[in-house]
Symmetry: C2
Subunit: 221 residues, 2 copies
């Protein structure tokens, strides 16, 4: 649906949940874009030029104007291409969606990462405990099929991190017993045609997470 | 400007930069509200009821509906009372404003806090270095009188943390030599009538930061 005069480019690394957030949003909006794969271990000049602050993907470049930080990009996409809205229209519902998306970034992402990949067992246990506490809040928030109701919205897209980590780490983050609603959500979300279209095969997801873990470990040395 | 049928209540603790963000926004919009002071060391039932996730101030309660997280509250205020906008109208400018406000929360708040109050000298030095790196990015972003141009906007309001910390810790975070633009911004911002109206006297700011530092230290034991 992007007009032929529009240039939309997306810089990413396949397997990154933050990239897949943006891809899901662009597909929902039927915006055509050019995808440029970056390299975590050898960042491109384009990435350094477009995101000099964080030097991180994803970066959306719309008519030469770069936008970074996946949740900021989602809001930009929603305000620029207004059909198939990602955020609710009511200000209070929008506030709740922003609150829970931020909650996922603040309270789920780091513990999920540590819970899946930390070498130290004690630290891993602590992270898992934190993660379960956070997932419990999300479980209670899930009142319908998706966080967005019958259709996926901002919060569902933000939460893509959770099933991806579960898939990659082969963990039982949420089983049907422990978090029955999140478990069903995870299946429905992964089977949503727009999400399915944007999920790489498991080996590519795995390769990304392995590279990321190695890169983080190398930086700590 | 809030109609007489509207009930706007704000839960806070005087001296909290996150509270003062919301107060500045409400004053800019000329929204009348009832302020309820909470107690960091003995949180009210109202706070626990309205923000069960983080149990933190500020919480804005609009017609019985609670909203938490200061930047989420600012967006809600801007969408609910549309006069005197806080965010720019152009989607790209909005994205930049959100990016920089998030940058302040992610990269300035914790280092500023540590830089001002950490007992360990080495940790304090490291935090100061991180803070200076972040402030350098902000210094380069400041192209006009305020981040919002001739008037204060979302980024200026988010950045209230910085002059408050400077004031309380009596630090030379930014001197006219080191960060000349931020230094001038800080003075102009503090002297803006809307900001001035919402800044408590220095002893109250100091009391808040002392209590907060003690509460954090106690939780670490």
């Amino acid at each position: 649906m992007a007009s032929s005069e529009e240039e939309v480019t997306l810089l990413g690394v396949v397997g990154s949940p933050f990239l897949h957030r943006v891809q899901i949003a662009l597909t929902l909006k039927r915006v055509e874009y050019k995808y440029v794969e970056d390299d975590l271990n050898n960042k491109s000049d384009l990435l350094l030029k477009y995101n000099p602050v964080y030097k991180m993907i994803p970066v959306l470049v719309h008519n030469e104007k770069p936008i970074s930080e996946s949740l900021v990009i989602l809001e930009y996409i929603d305000e620029t291409w207004k059909h198939n809205p990602i955020l609710p229209s009511d200000p209070y519902q929008r506030a709740l969606a922003r609150f829970w998306a931020k909650f996922i970034d603040d309270k789920c992402v780091a513990p999920a990462w540590k819970s899946a990949f930390m070498a130290d067992e004690k630290a891993r246990e602590k992270a898992t405990e934190e993660l379960f506490e956070a997932l419990n809040f999300l479980e209670n928030e899930l009142k319908e099929k998706f966080f967005g109701g019958e259709e996926i919205n901002f919060v569902d897209i933000a939460a893509v991190f959770i099933p991806i980590i579960q898939e990659v780490a082969e963990m039982q983050l949420f089983t049907s017993e422990k978090f029955p609603k999140l478990f069903k959500w995870s299946q429905d979300f992964y089977n949503h045609p727009v999400v399915k279209e944007n999920m790489p095969p498991k080996d590519q997801l795995f390769a990304y997470f392995k590279a990321r873990a190695q890169s983080l470990a190398a930086n700590k040395k």
